[in-house]
Symmetry: C2
Subunit: 379 residues, 2 copies
């Protein structure tokens, strides 16, 4: 195996694959980066068993300045190899296997020799067949992930809740996550997929990583699904994620259908007030902020208290306040996450009683996106 | 006590004073920020007992938009107060003491109430008399600190070595630091101070903080010294540092006066080579890099080895190589710190034998700045 490549372009690709490589893995070879050189490409693979990322650097893409002398394959210590490539003196680097598993890296007058591992010992990639393919716009996919991953459970006690439940049915893609205290649900119409359907649970952590990787992706993302894997294809990258096994709980009946108190407000305005109130609630034992809604005189206030530090009270700038008067307490961190997912848009917050979950939806396209939060009982 | 102030300018000043405030202090009131309001100014004080920073916000400076209604004094929880001020909704904030030790902070519709502490319980500032004043250019002072603090000891076993030894004598300011493995010495001619002298040891940590604070300072820094304190005055800030007690060891005889092997090279070039070699040495048990100098064929190479990972060898780009051939091993982290302190300049490295300390000096103005490193015996 021997090839020469432009360092800057190579570093970009290494950084992509490194996202999947954890130093905390229990399978030692997965701390390595697999490098396979064919006659016309270099294929980099990194994996932590949950996620596998494979980047193909094609010699026909001139930005790589790729010149292949001899095909082959090797596994190299990933973080260390990346550090070496980053610090080499010259614009180009030559990477060559010799004496079986030794790798020589030369650039300028610097010559590194690194001990590699046999690529045959690297786990095989999951096989994903291409019969069930859905094509998604990358910005839409990223939005769906970002809007739902906040409600994914961080606790391993119910592993299925650490995932995002994604279904495709009758041309509608639905993504739901809940940690049993809050819930986020996003729907997207995909009329061209009306003939296909699936029902899977994608790990929240994998999807967070995927959302970062496709942030700059202009083209679409192809999604393929098998029994226990999802594959996302974009640019020169294959992103594999394990699926979570088990039945996701039924969530649709959790969303209340009627409301007794309603508030219209710009999400970012309320977010700023909640962040101020949480300065106090974070100093207190039970992290709770109170919202008092008085539709009669059109006033709503947010307040937070810490016995040690002090308190804060603030009238919020609502566009509309209707229904019954209400005092309700909630975890401001849940509220903050939910509000952030709406950006600068105007939202409608609908309450029933002080002890029942309340919902946040955009005032436009109410049916497509909902955040639900369970209040906290304070008496 | 009551005043109104522009938040952005206030936040800048709070950030300055916060540098001195540690949450890990053993004196509880020092987690607080002391705020004294006079008829025409607000004085902010923060301290960790080693460093005290005092900022005076004068009402005559229109950037503060300062309007004072009532003088007074209070101590507030520093980090928390800073978070509150940062997150307030309006451009201005009004701060008012009521009910003795309660503080009301209002901005827009938000109203915070915070519990303060009695300012009389805050430790008194050290008294520094102004008879022994030296005026220093702020960029020169920062350079002197940055060039010497790298050699300050991090170990408390010999507390005096955690300081920078600063003397003024015959119009020459000398700063020296050593952790007994390396030494940094910088001299500056200050002819206008020929009539004054001092001999003090300033804590390295205080000076690092001071160097950061004066980074953007255009005007000079006034330095005043008493028996156990140094005071640095710049802009609207008083920066007090405790002095270290005890005798600093005699260091001048540690610097060798002759050499047998000499190397001239651009500091940043050698730095890059050392950083590559240290990638390997950091993976090995004894963090050592080897330099081989061969004056006969004008070649010098740097190499690093890790039994587990591999090795690297690199010919370095020296301008001149003269004297006896030499193989010498050293801690690459010490070398890196020393090389960084020279920036892009050309340096002369002078060796005697493989077991004796070697020196790095700029090829121009050799007498003013020296970094010394003790090699490592590898056999």
């Amino acid at each position: 195996m021997k090839f020469t490549i432009n360092r800057p372009a190579f570093i970009n690709q290494l950084n992509n694959v490194l996202r999947a490589i954890s130093s905390k893995t229990t399978i030692p070879i997965l701390t390595g980066l697999k490098m396979v050189v064919t006659d016309h490409s270099v294929i980099l693979t990194g994996s932590d068993a949950d996620i596998t990322i494979e980047s193909t650097l094609d010699a026909s893409d001139s930005s790589y300045g790729l010149s292949i002398e001899e095909p082959g394959a090797i596994v190299l210590p990933a973080r260390f190899f990346n550090e070496v490539i980053k610090k080499l003196p010259d614009k180009q680097a030559t990477i060559e296997v010799f004496n079986g598993l030794q790798v020589r890296i030369t650039s300028g007058t610097a010559e590194f020799t690194i001990n590699g591992q046999d690529a045959n010992n690297y786990p095989h990639l999951p096989e994903v067949e291409s019969e069930n393919t859905v094509e998604l716009a990358s910005d839409m996919l990223r939005e769906v992930i970002d809007q739902t991953r906040i409600a994914v459970s961080k606790q391993e006690s119910r592993p299925i809740l650490t995932g995002i439940h994604v279904t495709l049915n009758n041309g509608i893609l639905t993504a739901v996550a809940t940690d049993s205290h809050r819930l986020a649900q996003r729907k997207v119409e995909l009329p061209e997929t009306a003939d296909r359907d699936f029902d899977i649970v994608l790990p929240g952590a994998s999807m967070t990583e995927l959302a970062k990787m496709i942030a700059d992706e202009k083209d679409g993302v192809k999604m393929q699904i098998t029994e226990n894997q999802a594959l996302f294809i974009f640019g020169n990258t294959h992103f594999y994620s394990r699926l979570l096994e088990g039945n996701y709980p039924e969530t649709s009946r959790l969303i209340p259908e009627s409301s007794d108190t309603r508030l219209e407000i710009t999400a970012s305005d309320l977010l700023a007030s909640i962040e101020r109130a949480s300065l106090l609630s974070h100093e207190s034992r039970n992290n709770v902020v109170k919202l008092s809604v008085n539709p009669e005189n059109k006033i709503a206030t947010v307040s937070g208290t810490s016995a040690d530090v002090g308190n804060v009270e603030e009238e919020i700038n609502a566009d509309q306040i209707v229904g019954n008067p209400l005092e309700i307490s909630f975890n401001p961190d849940y509220m903050r996450d939910a509000l952030k997912s709406f950006g600068q848009t105007k939202i409608l917050i609908s309450f029933t009683t002080a002890l029942r979950p309340f919902t946040l939806v955009p005032t436009e396209e109410k049916a497509n996106f909902v955040q639900l939060i369970t209040p906290v009982r304070t008496y």
